[in-house]
Symmetry: C2
């Protein structure tokens, strides 16, 4: 993974960002070979796919695109984290999804030919590859295993949406929060001494938007768990200290 400079660049136009990230030459397969997503593809396919991509560096807090825009591109995350926030007509927000390395972003809209349904914001400084819809569809036609990878990825994606849908309509808040935290730990946690730490900034507010609860309720629940030694951490920072206990909260009747 290329290590890039870290000047505080903010709100740069996509072109500007892209220029920052690319030293002008075509990418080769090496940047994507390690991703699970591409594991079925051979080297020449990887070169072809990566060569057609444009890399983008996205500073923390900046959006990859905005909800409602026509889909001009689709992305795959190389490093970093995004949270996709959907805003309702009434102005309420929901975190519909988190994306990390190897995850596609914007594909749904590109294939459905509908406006982007949410705004993916970088939770940490991130790098993503970008393709135009035409280019990517041509790549899929050229490399059937790529189609299959996309389909598999979307499949997992649908499963997660259905799981959350089921949870949100059958489970109480505490359980939903427990599931959300467990999912986070699994998808984006790294072991530290005394637990698993969520490796990117996560506010109570975010957790609320992910579970359909209010900020206040999330805070109360986490405070209670903290007292019981189940979780720890402070401001924008969460450590799962006792996964067993949390799993019990999530599953038990």
């Amino acid at each position: 993974m290329p290590s890039l400079s870290c000047e505080p660049l903010r709100h740069g136009a996509p072109e500007e960002r892209a220029r920052q990230a690319t030293p002008g030459r075509r990418l080769d397969g090496s940047v994507i070979r390690h991703l699970d997503f591409f594991k079925e593809l051979d080297d020449s396919a990887l070169d072809d796919i990566a060569g057609a991509a444009r890399p983008e560096r996205i500073p923390r807090g900046e959006a990859l695109f905005r909800q409602g825009e026509p889909p001009h591109a689709l992305f795959i995350v190389l490093s970093g984290r995004f949270k996709a926030i959907q805003v309702t007509p009434e102005g309420r927000q929901v975190v519909v999804r988190l994306a990390g390395p190897g995850d596609l972003i914007g594909h749904v809209s590109v294939f459905a030919e509908k406006p982007y349904p949410a705004t993916p914001t970088a939770a940490t400084e991130s790098i993503a590859l970008m393709w135009s819809p035409r280019t990517f569809i041509a790549l899929m036609a050229r490399h059937p295993p790529l189609s299959l990878a996309v389909v598999r990825n979307m499949g997992r994606f649908i499963e997660e949406a259905h799981t959350r849908l089921r949870e949100s309509s059958t489970e109480r808040v505490e359980r939903r929060i427990a599931h959300a935290v467990l999912r986070l730990a699994q998808q984006a946690g790294h072991r530290v001494d005394g637990g698993v730490e969520i490796s990117f900034p996560m506010t109570r507010q975010d957790l609320a938007l992910m579970t359909g609860a209010t900020l206040h309720t999330v805070s109360r629940v986490l405070s209670a768990w903290e007292q019981q030694g189940v979780v720890g951490g402070g401001r924008q920072h969460l450590v799962l200290r006792d996964p067993q206990a949390l799993a019990r909260i999530a599953e038990e009747c």
Copy 2:
């Protein structure tokens, strides 16, 4: 669309059903040509695809497969309706999806190589085509436009899941029910004098499972709407009389 005999066959094994439905010869593209799903494919591709399929007739109330089974096949609905019900570990149910003509069923599990996440039950007598995973994946490799069609279909599917997810975590019950009814009318409604009728049996219970409400609440809400002349219909039967009014309930603040 082939018209089949209507003997009261119940709980027959898949093989038995299949034999009933196929008079022994390979299908050709004509059975699927009219479906939107296949509109990008040419005649030879359609023949190839349909030829590899096995048709199944599913009587009302019978399941195509059961939640938890390993995915042995994927289906596309030719006629009829299915409701996919997911049962939670605690025994609660959720209707995660409705499927009608042109919709894929079981694809998510087949591609993700995970057990079926729900049980699709025929809401009316239905006909579906069936492929084994290997066969279908081979077809996708042979016909890139088929991959694209699958991906598009999954895209729409994800959008709907996200919409419902957003609704269920930000909206009150009445609104959610309103949205669900509007979606039903759009997906499976036909005009009759004085409104739009949902063209398959839909109990209050189903509506409750679709919206994450209780049977009781749904009943109350529908009763109120009936008094206002917004909807009508009786047992397992729903007519949307005033779509405007319902849209107002769904959107207005």
